[in-house]
Symmetry: C2
Subunit: 585 residues, 2 copies
């Protein structure tokens, strides 16, 4: 109820949209960042005619898409909200998309006051001001009450005004229950050029109902059926003003332009120009491929967090500066912006060091929940980065990304597969994670080799293989060395390059396991938990295989890459030792 | 070199410390938030006499604790840095600890300008101002250059000043190469009451060496041996001013007070007051136990992100308001503050909904790297929360927490085990994660039952058991129901309560597996990846067991808890079906 007048002003005066076609590409967008206020979002869309009002009574039932918090299962929800502080980040991406497609649609976001404590809100504040997103208007519903107590700012609207002004926004402070003031503020926002606008709206939670107006203890609590509800409805009806004349028509969006069909990137992708035996880092091949698909498909955009010279996303920037978005050192808004862009048809590739994607884990979680078409790229995986030490080493990213349902996880070991998988990633509908490494590695595949989601490559095999070694990334080369060393001792092993960790190649693994007595060694530059070994084991659970996991099992330290690979038990020596033990047992 | 004068002023004038006893409990603290500047930190401590200067030449070698970024393996490092934007959060906790132990030690943090884009910095800004931490002084080294390009703010010092003023800090803007100005600013900070101070210091990267001063392309790059280095040293020596008189003595900290030995919490913990069969939510038992250990040990503190009425940490607040820190909706600074507190001897229990701990994943990663004594508590795990929907459901937290080496992971199913495990968590040295659930569950254990890290409880067993069902949390009760249903069909199953997911009870599992033909069903209110099933499988990898994982395998939706438990295949029905299939096969 704190946001009733704000929502009325937005939905029945300000927003240009077609309730029957919420995904119209030129319609104004609305993001309910304070997702726990979902009922008012559903009520507004129902009142606008998107669906019958009776459906509102299915709220939170298992059969209904009117869930506890907004989900993109609903056609009028672009990104899932309910994890606070994310909506403005997504709105930045949605506003940026208007620039990308040269549309004049505007983007609106409604924030809670409590969620303004989330740092991600201020990351969005910086980025929106840097990018001069004057097509973005946010409103903060300052009702002064959090879930468990008053917020730290209560109704001190100036606390919000000072902050947003300092972050470069145009600020309008209003009484959020004064409809004329809201409309005037929205007008002012529309007329403001060169920077986004924040409307700071002072409101009362439970406005209009004495029992709960401005009172604590009502967060997420429904009025009791009977006396409480009857009294509340009577109070609200007494305040209801009969409209004079017919209801205003909802302004319509601009006429829809026809999008060109996206190309088949996997087919169109130019053959990589490496020769077998070349030494190329997968992170560099990633940058090369990103620039190549950028030339084929205008939907491709790239986002950086000030490491473009390490992830090689700068190769994309050099070719397509207008589709390259520098977020500076702010991973949450980088992913949030990518979510917003993806929700409007772009194919965003946000990239940074893989370990720093963990800064945005909750955003990645919500991108997964929204099943958004975001292509995450994390470089510098594992101890093989060497001297920079554990704070820069991603050793849990496979676990995190595998725990995003429907997220495809690629972990190529060399340049050709990396390039081909970048094109494939862009072609897949839904989230993809691409893990790359710092060191240069040998090109193993010819330029026309093909790779598929759920595939793997068997690099060494014979009819005498005693153990299957499953490797990915830098450990593939250790496995190949172990193969050669063991061959000299008369021990044959099968070596598999598991370039796709999720979905993993169950059929290939089962076949290999059956051919090698059900004996596996997995080896990964990652912690033992939730990574490649667990993926192999889970996919083949019904086979009774024995899967020995070689992985990092302690906090690593600085050192030369080869020293660390050996110290933490991922080297050819460690693999050969594990195989020998298994063969002996 | 941008921070050379700042570090000189801090280490040889401002800080009160004993280079030979860096962990002195009353010494002033210094956090290098811009951890990539590690060489100057090492140089300062060496110059102060903490270790011989020659050791500096071991920088980044595998045999040296002088790693690429600061690690607490070094006695003068409290928390690992190198993931930007975290140091100020830790400094908040360190400053708060001074208040906890009634010490007048002061806390200093040196930030980079680039990292000010991280939202966590502004979360720390809010919290430090809210808590009126006037014993905290931060310095931002505004050298204008990020890793890959100039920062968005270049040398516009006013951009920093405006923001920090808006966030309620006292701000001093200075030339960061003017030693007198630095000393005056530090004086001013010391004299400022009621709020923290931010010193905004304009500097030049590479100051004093023409080749790189103020120039791009030198991030993390060393001067070449030979001409480059010789020239740089010559330039620096030419600028060197011979000190007049003897070097100033480093001010010493206050005399050390004797800490009382912490109690044995596991022994001292009062027996829980439940009766078998009572219905109590584990999250509520968590709150009860937290208040109980608070009474036993003054080191226990609790941190909240505005959900204390849901996590029941409010039970602690009511008894110990001075040791309860409200961080509002800002999970990163909540964990960062806990890291700082833990580094100085407190035993912090930060708690929120388990899914929102993912907001602080990178902080948890760094807490793990620092091996800090932080006790994370996540409530409302899994689909069993019901109608609030997927944005509020933690379904990846076990994967994330298992991928923190040395992190103990507890997942109790009922109130007695929850209470006992809270006391155990406080007693363990190192990170612990406690997963609790929303629904009320039946008390299964007597008040004197004991629980250990790495333990499990076998709840049902017979000599005829055909399958071992491993459950944890809410699924334990589904497993018990499945046991009874299957018994009627003449199928006996063993039921294990895996209350400790990490380390998991390998011996117990191996014994159960051998007794049940190597057949397992695991069932968890979590995604299939990286959770309980993977833990069981990995621990018993060498046994050739078959571990069928029942887990959530798609994005869930809103609904009643029981409906969801069944829909996503975790119910007694689903367990019984899985057992029947395995028995038949």
């Amino acid at each position: 109820m704190s946001a009733a007048e704000i929502m009325a002003a937005l939905f029945f005066h300000e927003l240009r949209f077609d309730p029957k076609d919420p995904q119209h590409p030129e319609a104004d967008r609305f993001v309910l960042s304070k997702g726990h206020a979902a009922p008012i979002l559903y009520a507004a869309w129902a009142a606008a005619g998107a669906f019958p009002r009776e459906h509102l009574l299915t709220l939170r039932k298992i059969t209904s898409d009117l869930e506890g918090h907004p989900m993109p299962r609903l056609p009028f929800v672009d990104v899932a909200t309910g994890s606070l502080g994310q909506g403005l980040c997504a709105a930045v991406g949605i506003a940026l998309n208007a620039r990308r497609i040269s549309s004049d649609y505007r983007t609106y976001a409604l924030l809670g006051d409590g969620e303004s404590a989330e740092g991600s809100v201020w990351e969005a504040g910086d980025v929106a001001a840097n990018l001069a997103l004057d097509n973005l208007c946010a409103i903060t519903d300052v009702n002064g009450l959090g879930q468990s107590r008053p917020t730290q700012w209560d109704h001190h609207l100036d606390e919000f005004g000072r902050r947003w002004t300092a972050f470069g926004w145009h600020v309008v402070v209003i009484d959020g229950h004064d409809l004329k003031a809201i409309l005037a503020a929205l007008d002012e926002a529309r007329g403001t050029k060169g920077r986004p606008t924040m409307i700071v709206a002072g409101t009362l939670k439970g406005k209009g109902v004495k029992l709960c107006e401005g009172k604590e203890g009502w967060h997420g609590r429904a009025l009791k059926k009977g006396a409480e509800t009857d009294q509340a409805i009577a109070e609200l009806e007494a305040q209801y003003v009969q409209p004079v004349g017919p209801a205003p028509a909802i302004p319509k969006p601009a006429s829809r332009r026809t999008d060109s069909a996206p190309p088949d990137l996997v087919k169109a992708f130019p053959a990589p120009s490496y020769k077998k035996g070349d030494q190329v880092a997968t992170r560099e091949a990633y940058g090369t491929a990103l620039a190549a698909i950028g030339a084929l498909d205008p939907r491709i955009v790239a986002l950086d967090a000030d490491v473009k010279n390490s992830t090689f996303s700068e190769k994309f920037e050099k070719k397509f500066p207008d589709r390259f978005y520098e977020m500076f050192i702010a991973e949450q808004v980088m992913i949030g912006t990518a979510m917003g862009l993806a929700s409007r048809g772009a194919v965003p590739f946000p990239s940074t060091f893989a370990c720093f994607l963990s800064r945005a884990s909750d955003f990645i979680r919500m991108a997964g929940i929204s099943n958004l078409n975001v292509k995450l790229a994390g470089s510098h995986a594992g101890v093989s980065i060497g001297e920079d030490g554990p704070s820069q080493m991603a050793l849990e990213d496979l676990a995190t990304m595998r725990a995003v349902p429907d997220c495809t996880v690629f972990y190529p070991c060399e340049a050709v597969s990396t390039e081909r998988l970048v094109a494939l990633a862009a072609s897949i509908r839904g989230p993809v994670y691409m893990r790359t490494s710092r060191p240069k590695t040998e090109v193993l595949y010819g330029p026309d080799e093909t790779f598929v989601a759920g595939g793997s490559k068997t690099l060494r095999q014979s009819s005498k293989d005693a153990v299957t070694v499953v490797a990915a990334g830098v450990t593939v080369f250790e496995a190949l060395k172990a193969h050669d060393a063991l061959a000299k001792e008369g021990i044959a092993i099968r070596v598999i390059d598991a370039y796709c960790v999720q979905p993993i190649d169950r059929d290939g693994l089962v076949a290999a396991g059956r051919a090698t007595g059900g004996k596996f060694v997995t080896v990964e530059d990652h912690y033992a938990h939730g990574g490649l070994g667990d993926a192999v084991s889970e996919a083949t659970w019904d086979q009774g295989f024995r899967v020995k996991r070689l992985a990092v099992r302690e906090i690593p330290r600085s050192g030369a890459p080869d020293e660390l690979i050996d110290k933490y038990g991922l080297s050819a020596r460690a693999i050969a030792d594990a195989v020998r033990q298994i063969v002996k047992a």
